[in-house]
Structures are given as structure tokens and as C-alpha cells.
Symmetry: C2
Subunit: 204 residues, 2 copies
């Protein structure tokens, strides 16, 4: 019995290779050939799992998006402190505050652009952003902030905008600036809080 080389790989490993190639050399270079090389498998092994490049990209974005959503929601449940600290911790997962998150932000931005032309990508990104926005909104709502959904959308958008701007220009967006900016916007988003007990009382 011949051992076929692709039996030694799995789609998650290939998605990681796509991610790594995209982070290092750009999403344009994440061809089946390049991904196979990075993963140390044959082109056939990649083709065994993904019949087209688009299929491979969709799988990769889904994995990366799930990872980010999981981290944001994990942070939300374990972060100590009041809503301010929890929100800062959540949004910080999107910011390029270290090498790992910088790579992620780069790949995420590249996928956002690619989503215009590859069917399936837009939907995955949209679900991911919706999950993050909802998690942020839940914290704002719990804290009694009005317009929680709208404010959550603005916070997530600003984190994404900072990430995009810092991509190629870390010098203009040093870590301390990003942290201070997000902290300030979280403060603003927590204005006009109503005691949740009061709100319930008013509604009853």
C-alpha cells in the first residue's frame, strides 16, 4: 500500500500556511503552489483538500475569523475589572499591539479587500464582525450605556481603522498611542450610563 503524501496533512495546517504566506508576502502570493511549499506538502495534497484557490481562501478566513471571535469573547468573560477594562481588552485583540496581532491585522485587511471579488469571503467577514460587535454591545448594555449597538459598532470600526492605518506605518501609530486612543473612546462610549436596576424599574 502506498502512503499518499496528503494523508499527512489536514486543512487546518494548510490554512495556517495560507495565513503565514499572506502575512509575509501578501495574499496575492498565497497560490496553491506557494502554500504547498510553505506547508511542506505536495501541490496535490493542497488540491486534495481545496479544489480551487478561492475555496482555500474561504477556509483560511473562516479559521482566522473564528480564532479572533473566540479570543474576543474569551477576554470578555475572563477579564477582571469593570466594563472599561473589559472593553479595552476585547478591542485590543484587534489592534496590532504585538507581532502576532500585527500579522493578523495585515491578513484581515487583505481579506477585506479580496472579499470584494471572491464570493464567500464577505459573508465570513461579516459574521465575524457581527459576533465581535455583539459581544462589545453586550458589555455596553450590561454597563447601562445607551445606544449600545451603535456605540459598539463605532468602537469596533475604530479598532479596525487603527489596525488598517498602522499596517505599514507603526511609527505613526505606536503602541502607547493605540492603547490611549482606544481607552479614550471606550470612556466616551460608556457615557450617560443608566443603572441597569433603574432601567428595569422604569420598564416595569
Amino acid at each position: 500500500m502506498t502512503t499518499r503524501r496528503y494523508s499527512s496533512t489536514n486543512p487546518e495546517l494548510l490554512a495556517q500556511a495560507v495565513f503565514d504566506v499572506a502575512a509575509d508576502a501578501g495574499l496575492d502570493n498565497a497560490s496553491v503552489r506557494e502554500v504547498a511549499k510553505r506547508a511542506g506538502v505536495s501541490i496535490g495534497a493542497v488540491q486534495h483538500h481545496f479544489s480551487t484557490k478561492d475555496e482555500m481562501l474561504v477556509f483560511t478566513l473562516r479559521a482566522a475569523s473564528a480564532r479572533l471571535v473566540e479570543r474576543v469573547t474569551d477576554v470578555a468573560s475572563i477579564a477582571a475589572g469593570g466594563p472599561h477594562d473589559v472593553l479595552v481588552a476585547m478591542l485590543s485583540e484587534m489592534l496590532p499591539l504585538d507581532e502576532r496581532r500585527s500579522k493578523e491585522a495585515h491578513v484581515r485587511a487583505a481579506f477585506a479587500v479580496r472579499a470584494v471579488s471572491v464570493p464567500g469571503l464577505a459573508d465570513i467577514r461579516s459574521r465575524g464582525m457581527f459576533a465581535i460587535r455583539s459581544a462589545v454591545a453586550a458589555v455596553l448594555l450590561d454597563a447601562g450605556a445607551p445606544d449600545a449597538e451603535i456605540r459598539a459598532g463605532g468602537l469596533v470600526a475604530s479598532a479596525e481603522g487603527f489596525a488598517a492605518s498602522a499596517l505599514a506605518d507603526r511609527q505613526s501609530y505606536p503602541t502607547a498611542y493605540l492603547q490611549r486612543s482606544i481607552a479614550q473612546f471606550v470612556d466616551l462610549a460608556l457615557r450617560d450610563r443608566v443603572e441597569v436596576g433603574d432601567a428595569v424599574e422604569l420598564a416595569s
Copy 2:
């Protein structure tokens, strides 16, 4: 005397062609060949003005960036109403509220990603964002808002983040949502205003 074809073109026209190809088919497809085709000139005509593709991209981003900065600052000087309306009008220039601005946001996002690997692009983007942030900060400062620079950065980042998210997913980010979100964040950014007269008095 032979009329050479490229004498009939100019770099601004070619930059427009790069922009159009990028908006329609993605920045990856903005090759010298494709740009020449779109501009209706020979490949030699493009090469007459730009010796490399990167040079062509740098020129294009510079033109697009200058246009956006000009629009934002024009709006700032002509918009009627108080600081709220002026700021909303400025930030709205970055949002994909119509087809033209959607195209621009798409091309801008693609350039942000490309800036990671093409020298020169990051610097142009950075200068453009700085000019916009400064113009927004000037309005906040005039209005007596504290932390004007930081708040301006957050507003610009949220507009950029909304633009990136809406790229391939206008359905989740309809015009009314984008407008309401920006209006709300402008309101928050204008909190805690100090009468500019008071500030001067305190300083004297």
C-alpha cells in the same frame, strides 16, 4: 516628424486609469499592460511616465490621497452649521455613501494593504491620514473639545474602519447606519467642551 502616441497622455490620466482598474478588478490587476489598455495608450506610453509598476502606484496613491485631503478640508471650510455638522460632513467624505466614495474606499483599502510591501506608499498614506486627522482635530479644538488630537484620531479611524467593513458588505452597513453611527461618534467626541473664551481666560 512622427507623432509618438505617448505625447497625447499625461501621468494624471494614467493615475486615473490605475484607479479605475483597481476599483473594478482589484489592485493586483493594475498592471502596466492593463492600465495602458484602460487609458487607451500604448504600453510604451505608460513606461514613458513610469519606469516601474511601483512608481505608477506611488503616483496614483499620491493623486488619490491629495484629492481626498482636498475634499475633506474644502468641506471643513464651506460646511454650514456648528462643529457637529462640519465634522460629519468631513468624515462622510471617507465613507462609502455613494458609488464614487465606495470605489475610493475600496482602492484606499487595497493601497493600505499594498503599502506593507511597496516602499513609498506607506509614507503617502501616512501624510494623507495625518492631514485629515489634523483638519478634524482643528475643528474639535475650535469647538473647545478636550483631547482634540486623540479624539480626531479615533473619529478618522472609525470612518476608515466602517469604510473597510462596508467594502464587500454594503448590506450590513447601509447608508443610514453609517450616517447615524458617525453622527453619534461625533456627538461623543464633542463632549466636555470648554468655551474657547474660558480656556483663553484660564491660560492668561
